[in-house]
């Protein structure tokens, strides 16, 4: 078995490798754009980008050939909603847990949000590319993730990012891509105990942002992003914004800190996406109605377990949905009508729906999304259920989450020009029994060894040897 050490891979992440031309030939290739897989097709990557993918694509003479006969080749999985990279181990008992035992090793969990700020929070400083969770997900074909902060005492959780799972120290693909807000039950709880409270809190916050926004200049593409030659507006860090000078006056009766209000200015202006967690049908309609008063909000619904009940209205609003894939239990009173047919029904109604994870597992189990996508395909054979086609299911875990936040031109498919995030699978990736065999991120082949694979090597054979287990490499 090849052993690729993480250290070696870090060194290898330099540009020369990314500039290589690679042709992956002979595999069953799916583009991730909703189309069905194509047998015996070729994928060509160069300079970290997709050149072309399909059955009649020519192999460049200078290309390194990767033989994918008998394998499947797809874009890498994009975790549509997650908290990947924010926690190494979820439950390490900070004192807030009430365990009363101090955690001298430092909490391995950076999702706590009990400080004084809310909307201004930026997940980027918290992301650790060396988390074992990132390696485990990379090893199973997850290449990019939409990473959101968790809401603490406010309905506003802060600003999320898009990361890659590559074995290097530069995980951020797009910083401050969206603001995340809770407007369902969690929002009601945070705002003081009711949805009335959370909605008035929301409106009040946007009012404060509007007031501060009078002083705002154009908050948009920084020079650096423009230099990279791609249309990737990154909201400038509000800490550097001119909104903090004494000239930017605020009313006396404000509730948000200046930083938090400033962070909402780009949301109000429609320059930063607003991901909204709602589950209940009536809550979904309330969020859609917000656009009457705040027409420039770029809303994306997250969760939406009851979305199918109001799918026509969601479709008419052109608001994308990043839905939980398989919720089918009335886990709470905001999910009474949950059904696995939710995603399929929304799709059939014309909703731009993709899949994400917003539950206890969202820090680490994103690799399960492809199994969940396969389950949506299974529904096609269940009477009374509404499933999706294979091509659509793959799109929901690749290109569609990217499109939901305006990055469909960059990641999530094998269309020309996209980042060369490619996975070669042992078989159909929507079957849990398949495994990722090769993972490329930005055209760079990734190491797939993890803490777990090393443990397997050590304990594959138990009988005693001449030295204790700790000496087994």
């Amino acid at each position: 078995m090849k052993r690729l050490l993480i250290a070696a891979a870090l060194l290898a992440a330099a540009s020369p490798l990314a500039a290589q031309t690679i042709a992956i030939t002979g595999g069953t290739v799916a583009l991730g754009d909703g189309s069905e897989p194509m047998a015996g097709a070729t994928v060509v990557l160069r300079g970290g980008r997709i050149v072309a993918a399909g059955p009649n694509v020519a192999v460049p003479r200078d290309a390194q050939i990767v033989d994918a006969r008998g394998k499947w080749v797809t874009p890498g999985i994009v975790a549509g909603f997650s908290r990947l990279g924010l926690a190494e181990v979820d439950l390490t008992w900070s004192n807030d847990d009430g365990g009363g035992v101090s955690d001298t090793a430092g909490s391995a969990d950076d999702t706590g949000q009990n400080g004084p700020f809310s909307a201004a929070i930026d997940v980027v400083p918290a992301i650790n590319p060396l988390d074992t969770t990132i390696a485990v997900n990379r090893a199973d074909g997850v290449v990019r993730a939409i990473v959101a902060p968790a809401a603490g005492k406010s309905i506003f959780a802060g600003q999320g990012a898009v990361i890659d799972t590559g074995a290097d120290m530069d995980p951020v693909t797009a910083a401050r891509k969206f603001q995340f807000v809770e407007l369902g039950q969690a929002g009601a709880d945070a705002a003081g105990g009711s949805r009335s409270a959370s909605h008035v809190m929301f409106r009040s916050a946007l009012r404060e942002a509007a007031e501060l926004g009078r002083y705002a200049g154009s908050v948009g593409s920084s020079g650096k992003a423009a230099a990279e030659g791609r249309d990737m507006p990154t909201v400038r860090n509000p800490n550097e914004s001119r909104l903090y000078g004494s000239a930017a006056r605020r009313s006396d009766d404000v509730m948000l800190t200046r930083f938090d209000a400033a962070a909402l200015v780009p949301v109000l202006q429609g320059r930063q996406y607003l991901l909204v967690h709602v589950e209940r049908a009536s809550d979904i309609l309330q969020v859609l109605a917000l656009r009457k008063d705040f027409p420039r909000l770029k809303i994306v619904l997250v969760g939406a377990s009851e979305g199918w009940m109001v799918a026509d209205r969601i479709a008419a609003s052109n608001v994308p949905v990043i839905a939980s894939a398989l919720n089918d239990l009335p886990a709470s009173f905001e999910q009474l009508a949950a059904t696995q047919s939710n995603v399929g029904r929304m799709r059939n109604a014309g909703v731009a729906v993709s899949i994400g994870m917003i539950d206890d597992s969202d820090t680490r189990n994103l690799f399960l999304e492809r199994q969940y996508a396969g389950n949506l395909v299974a529904l096609q054979k269940v009477p009374g259920a509404t499933g999706v086609s294979w091509g659509e299911a793959l799109a929901m875990i690749t290109s569609r989450p990217a499109q939901a936040i305006g990055m469909g031109g960059e990641i999530g498919s094998l269309m020309p020009g996209r980042r060369a995030d490619v996975v070669i699978w042992s078989g159909d990736p929507l079957e849990g029994q398949s495994a990722a065999e090769q993972v490329y991120i930005d055209g760079v082949r990734q190491p797939l060894a993890t803490h777990q694979s090393r443990l397997l090597e050590r304990y594959r054979y138990l009988p005693r040897r001449e030295l204790p287990e700790a000496y087994r490499k």
């Binding site: 190494e88 181990v89 979820d90 439950l91 390490t92 008992w93 009430g98 365990g99 009363g100 035992v101 074992t132 485990v136 049908a281 009851e306 009940m309 398989l326 919720n327 089918d328 239990l329 009335p330 886990a331 709470s332 009173f333 999910q335 009474l336 009508a337 949950a338 059904t339 696995q340 047919s341 206890d360 597992s361 680490r364 189990n365 199994q371 396969g374 389950n375 395909v377 299974a378 529904l379 054979k381 269940v382 009477p383 009374g384 259920a385 042992s426 929507l430 079957e431 849990g432 029994q433 398949s434 495994a435 803490h451 777990q452 694979s453 443990l455 397997l456 304990y459 594959r460 138990l462």
Partner: protein, 462 residues
């Protein structure tokens, strides 16, 4: 079913005029060990033949184009295409489909932590003290939990063990249920199944009680557990003596009753434990006090001590790939289940989750594939089905009655619309004791709990 002992009051003394013999001791009173008996009765079914499907018998056997015949609640014949159908039987064409024993989940909190998850329904952990063997999970089960029907229709679950949570060192008795809707929990209880007792080691008890008088450490966990077994042995001595000799009845203690049942071999231990070193300590403890651990649950590090598990005949109920949510689950490997199986130990796939219970076949499939990729020998789809039916039945003490497609066993059968190790397959029909409890094509054969009546989504395909 444990036989019901009727309380007997002894007739007493008659003094003769001249006799000076001491009055005979009172005969011992037999305690009713089954005061909440199962009232489950199977529903009506017809003699049914499923022909032409691939059959996994649950014990490692695979029959291509097989025939499965059941009637009067029991399996009557299982074999190949040459088996003849009884006259008047319902014939089901299983071509292109698969037939298996129903899946048995040994670790569920359906009913105890039901949907919806309101605070008023959180009944799985009697976290008022770390030693609570006196509570019985069945007294918390809400039979109207919609989770039961999801497990049936999406997961092919025909039997499940509901146990207390793992906040406590001794969590309380578990209960084995038929996945058949009833108005009462007694109406769901698996007839004759032995009781289980939930124990826990590791992080949970010490986290919950660290600030509340302890235990606050792993060593505290062990000390309190051992001290409890000492009390149990003392109780057992008193009651054994009373049972043998009569006399003054000792005081009765519900907690000690349960522990005595374990020491007597009547109640099976299901021990939540993740780490290899902690499982080894629990094994030694079981020997110290003379009881048997039937199964470790979760057992994330079972692969590190698979040889110990095999040598001690202890089952391990595991996940395919859960990891990293606590330090004690940090060292998970995806090949845990097949590694345990390969060592000759009893490997089980469990859920501990109302969503996971709907996909145990898929979890077994992942474990199987990861095992084959790792070069573990002796694996096959038919073997993987042992992890879902035969081994769980063994761990619950009901293997003589269900858990495999053997003649004379309960007709707990699932017809799948494809290979159930594929994520594209779902149950098509499910029979429990030969009664059809689910038919994907028939909306009238889809159970709806009381809670869901009149709610948005009532009767929907979930």
């Amino acid at each position: 079913m444990r036989s019901v002992f009727v309380a007997i009051l002894a007739a007493s003394m008659l003094g003769g005029c001249a006799a000076k013999t001491p009055p005979p001791k009172a005969h011992p009173i037999r305690i009713n060990e089954d005061p909440y008996p199962s009232t489950y009765t199977r529903y009506p079914g017809a003699v049914t033949v499923i022909r032409g499907a691939t059959v996994f018998d649950g014990e490692g056997g695979r029959i291509e184009r097989g025939t499965v015949i059941f009637g009067d609640g029991l399996l009557q014949a299982v074999g190949d295409a040459s088996l003849a159908s009884p006259a008047g039987a319902i014939e089901i064409d299983g071509t292109g489909k698969f037939v298996t024993p129903g899946i048995i989940d040994v670790h569920s909190h359906l009913g105890d932590y039901p949907s919806p998850g309101t605070a008023s329904l959180q009944d799985g952990n009697e976290a008022t003290g770390p030693v609570r063997p006196e509570v019985w999970a069945e007294h918390s089960v809400w039979p109207q939990d919609p989770g039961f029907s999801r497990a049936l229709a999406n997961g092919g679950i025909t039997t499940l063990q509901v146990l207390p949570g793992s906040a406590n060192l001794f969590g309380g008795r578990s209960v084995v249920l038929k996945n058949v809707h009833a108005r009462t929990v007694q109406g769901m209880k698996f007839p004759g199944a032995p009781y289980g007792l939930k124990m826990a080691c590791g992080e949970n008890p010490k986290r919950v009680y660290g600030n509340k008088g302890g235990p606050g450490t792993r060593m505290g966990n062990i000390a309190v557990t051992r001290a409890t077994w000492l009390r149990a042995q003392d109780y057992k001595r008193k009651w054994d003596k009373y049972d043998k000799n009569g006399g003054d009845m000792p005081g009765r203690d519900l907690a000690m009753d349960t522990l005595r049942g374990v020491l007597d071999g009547k109640i099976l231990i299901h021990n939540h434990c993740y780490r290899a070193d902690e499982m080894a300590i629990m094994i030694d403890m079981s020997k110290e006090f003379g009881y048997k651990i039937t199964a470790f649950h979760h057992a994330v590090e079972a692969y590190k001590i698979a040889d110990l598990l095999a040598a001690n005949n202890i089952c391990a109920a595991m996940w395919a790939d859960w990891y990293g949510f606590k330090m004690e689950s940090y060292d998970a490997v995806k090949e845990n289940i097949p590694l345990v199986h390969n060592a000759g130990a009893c490997a089980i796939v469990h859920s501990d989750d109302a969503n996971g219970i709907q996909r145990l076949n898929q979890e077994a499939a992942k474990a199987l594939a990861d095992g084959i990729r790792a070069g573990i020998p002796g694996l096959s789809e038919a073997v993987a089905w042992e992890w879902l039916s035969r081994n769980p039945a063994k761990a619950l003490g009901i293997l003589d009655r269900t858990g495999s497609l053997k003649v004379g066993k309960m007709a707990d059968v699932v017809l799948w619309n494809g290979n159930p190790l594929s994520g594209y397959t779902r149950p098509e029909r499910v029979w429990i004791d030969g009664a059809e409890m689910y038919d994907s094509a028939n909306p009238n054969k889809r159970p709806v709990s009381d809670f869901e009546l009149g709610q948005p989504g009532e009767g929907d395909t979930k």
